[in-house]
Amino acid sequence: MKTESFAPRKWLALSRLTNSAFLLPLLALVTALILGAIIIWVTSGSIGTVFDAFGGLIRGALFKERGLSESLIATVPYVFLSLAVAVGFKAGLFNIGVEGQFYMGAISAVFVGQLATGLPAIIHLPLTLLAGAAGGALWAAIPGYLKVRTGAHEVITTIMLNYVAFRFTELIISGPLRDIHSTAVQTTRVASSAEVWLLYEVPARLQDPLNAFAVALIAGFIAFLVSRTIRRRRERIAAAAPMVLSVGRGKPTRAPGILSRHSSLVTAIVAGVATGVLLPILTRLWWPFTDQYDRLHIGVLFAIAAAVAVWWLIGKTTIGFELRTVGANPNAAIYAGMSITKNVVLAMAISGALAGIAGTIEVLGVSICRCLPLFFSSGYGFDSIAISLLANNSPFGILGVAFLFGAMRNGADLMELSSGVSKYIISLMQALILLFVSAPPIIRWLYRIRTEQKGQRLGLPGSWGGKA
C-alpha cells in the first residue's frame, strides 16, 4: 500500500509546486521587474538606460568590491524581521510592529551590551542577544495581550506602538544612555565582548580559548542534531521494513553497544573537540575573509540558524501546531483544548523576539559606532512584510527572498550612479511586488491561471476588521 501511494503522491507534490504557492509569487516578481523596466524606459526615453540600470543594480549587488558582502549584510535584518512577520501570519496575526520591536530590541541590547562589562564573549554576546530578544518579545506581547483581552486589533495597536517605540528609544538615546563624549547624539559603545564578530576578525577572536570553546559547543550541538536525525530516519526505515516486506521478523537483534546507543552524543563530542582544537589553528593558516574593510559578520550564520529554528518550531513541534491551529481556525483550537490567550501572546512574543534580535545584530555588528545612533533605521520592518508574503511565509523561502531584497537595496546606489535612474525605483518595484502578491487575481488574470484550489490561500490572516 505504501509503495502504491508513493508515486501519485510525489506527482501531486510536483503539481502543487506549479500551483499558486510557488508560481504566483514568482510571476509577481517577474511582472514587477518588467514593469519597473518599462517605467525606466518611459521616463528616461531610452531603452539603453534600462540595461544600464539593471546592469548597475546587479553589479552593485553582487560584483562590485564587497558588493556581495554588503548585500548579505542587508539580508540579515530582512531575514529576522521577515521570519518575525511569518510567525505572526502563521498564528493569524498581522504584526506590522516589527519595526518598533526592532528598536526595542536594539535599545535593550545597548543597555546590556554596555552596562555589563568584564564578561567573556561566550557569556556577554548571548546575554546581549537574549536581552534584545526579550526587549522585542515584551514589546510585541503587549498588542497580543490587548487583542485577546479587549479585542483591539493588532494591526492598529502594533502600528501605534511603533511610534511609541521610536520616541522611547530617542528619549533613551538622547537622555540616560547618551554618550557624552561624542558630538553626535548616540549611545555609548557596547563592550567588545558583546560585539557580533566580523568574519574578518574570526581568526583573531578564536585565539581566545573561551571563544574557541563556544564555537566547539555550537559545532557539537549541530553535529548532535544532524546525527540524531539521520539515526532516527534509519530506525524508522528499519521499523517499517517488517511491516512492508514481512522479512527480518524473528531475526535476533544484536544488543547495541554503548557506542552505538549513544552514537549521536559521541559524534557531537568528536565534532566539538575537533572544531575547538583545529579551527583556531586552521583559520590562522588560511581564512577566506582577509579584507579588513569587509563588514560581513557572523550574523549571516545566525540568520540561517534562525530560519531553521523557525521552520522546526512552526512545522515540527506541538507549539507550532497550536500556533497554526489558532491561526487557521480559532474555534477549532478552543474546541481542541488550546488556549487562545497563551498562543496569541506567545506568537507575538516569538515574533517580537526575532525582530528584537534583528535590531540587536544591527547594533552589535553593523552600526559603525557599535552603538545606537539617533537616526538608526531603515524601513527594514516594512519591507519585511512584503518579503514574508512573497516567500509565502516559508522560512527557507524567506532566506532567498530576503537576499533578493537585500541585494536590491544594496545595488540601488550603483544603479543610480551608472544610469541616472533614481534609486527609489527599487522601492517602486518592491511595492509592485507587494501589490501583486497581495492581490493574486491580477497575476492570475495576466497569465490566465486557473483559480487556486480551495483551502490553499495566501498567508494573510482572514479578518481585518473586528475580532478574529
Binding site: 515540527k316 481556525n329 477549532a332 474546541y335 483544548g337 490553499q456
Partner: protein, 512 residues
Amino acid sequence: MTLALQAAGITKRFPGVLANDKVDFDLARGEIHALLGENGAGKSTLMNILYGLYQPDEGQILVNGQPIAITNPHDAIAHGIGMVHQHFMLVPPLTVTENIMLGQESVLKASRALGQLALLDRRGAAQRIRELSQQYGLEVDPDATVRDLPVGAQQRVEIVKALYRAAEILILDEPTAVLTPQEADDLFVIMRGMVKTGKSIVFITHKLREVLAVADQISVMRGGKMVGHANPADATSESLAQLMVGRQVLLQIDKADPHPGQVVLKVSDISVRDDRQHMAVDGVSFEVRAGEVLGIAGVQGNGQTELAEAVTGLRHPVKGSMSILGHDSTHATPRHVIEAGAAHIPEDRQKHGLVLSFSVRDNLVLCTYYRSPFAHGVSINFPMLERNADDLIRMFDIRAPGSDTLVGTLSGGNQQKVIVARELARQVKLVIANQPTRGLDVGSIEFIHGRIIQARDKGAAVLLVSAELDEIMSLSDRIAVMYKGRILDIIDAKTASREQLGLLMAGVASRQ
C-alpha cells in the same frame, strides 16, 4: 403531460472528475420531482448547470420544448427557472422586501427620470410580496429584517424571491436540511399548493421519508450518472436507498439492549447563558450511564447547543454543577474534559470540528497532538501521525486521496468521518455527539450511527443531541426532550412514539 424542463445528455467534467455523465432529466409541468443521490453524486452540478452557474461540456437544455442556452443565472431567471440554495443568499441587515427586490429593483414611476437615482418602490414591492405569500401560503412579513428571522422564515423569503421573479420552475436544494420535522411538513404543504397552480418543482434531497411523502416522480443519481427512476407509489425506502448507495443499506440500526453501568456524566440543575446573555439552559438535570445512549430531542434553538457546549467545557454554567466519573467538571476547560475521557462530535463541523486548511493527518490528532505517542516533549512524531492517519482512513473508510489531503477539499460526509474517527478511535468513556449526521448522505449516516452504537457497546456513555427525530429514536435508549431550556420529560426509547415526542417538542408536557 408536457415537459417544463428537459436536460438531454448533460456531461460535465472537472479536472479529474466526471461530475455528470450523459445525464437525462425530464421535469413535467405541475410535478414535484425528487432528485435523490448521495453527496458527490452530481445532483448539485446538474442543478447548477440548469441555473447557469456552470456550462455543460455536452448536452442540451430545453424549456417548454425549446432548446435554450443558459450562460448565467440571469438567463435562467428569464426562462422562469428559480433556485433556492441550501445556504441562503440573503443580506441579513436588509428587510425582506429589500432582499426580494435586490437585483430587480422596481422604482417609483414619477422618479424614473432620475435614472440610477430613482426612488425605490418599496410599497409596491411589499404589496406584491403580500399577494404572493397569501396565494401560496408562504407566511412572510415584508417589513421584517432578515437578520431577525428564524431559519424557516428565511427559507420562505428565498422561495418568495424566486416567485417574485416569476419562476415557473423551482429548484429547491436540500430545503429540509435546516428545518424541524414540523416545519418540513409545512413546506410540503406549500410545495403541493405551488404545483397545483402549474409550477414545477425539483426537490433535491437525500431524506427518503420526505421523498416518499411529497414527490410525484423520483430520479436517483449515483457517481455522476442517472441510475434510475421510480414512482413513489411503488418505491420503498429500502429500494431507494439501495439505488442511491448501490448496495443493501441498513436503515434501522440493529442494536442490542443496553447494559447501563455506573454514572459517567452527571448534570445537576445547570443553567447556561447564550451569547446574547439569554438563559438558554434553565435548570437542567440528568445522568448518563456507561453503556447507554441518552438522546436529547427538541426543535433547534431550545438550548441543546448551549447544553452540549457546557458539558464539553466550551461554555460555563451560571448555576448548578456537573461531574464526569465523579470528578467535578463544572468549570473544567475543554482540555480537562477531553482528558477526563470525553469525545466531542461538535454541532458545526467546519467551525469547531476541523481546521479546513490542515491535512487529514493533522486533523486526526487535533485533540491529542501533544500526547504520547504523537509527541515527545515538544517535538511531534510525524511517522506516528502518518501511521495513525493511514490506520484511521482505513478503519473509518474516509475517502481521501491520501493522509496529506486538505480536509477542506473533502465532501461533508468524509469531513464528518474524520471527526468521528478522531473522537471515537481513542479510549473514551463519554461521547457527546451533537447533530452527528447533519447534512450527510445515507451511507455516511449508517456508518456513523454504527460507530456510535459500537462506542456504547464498548462501555462509553453517549449523550446524543439531534434535531432529527428519526436519529434520536433509532439510536437512543432514553430520550430527554428539551423545550425552552428545560427538559420536559425523559422517556424510555422503547415506549416512545413519534406523536408523544412531537408533542413534547412543541412544549406540551405529558407527564402521566
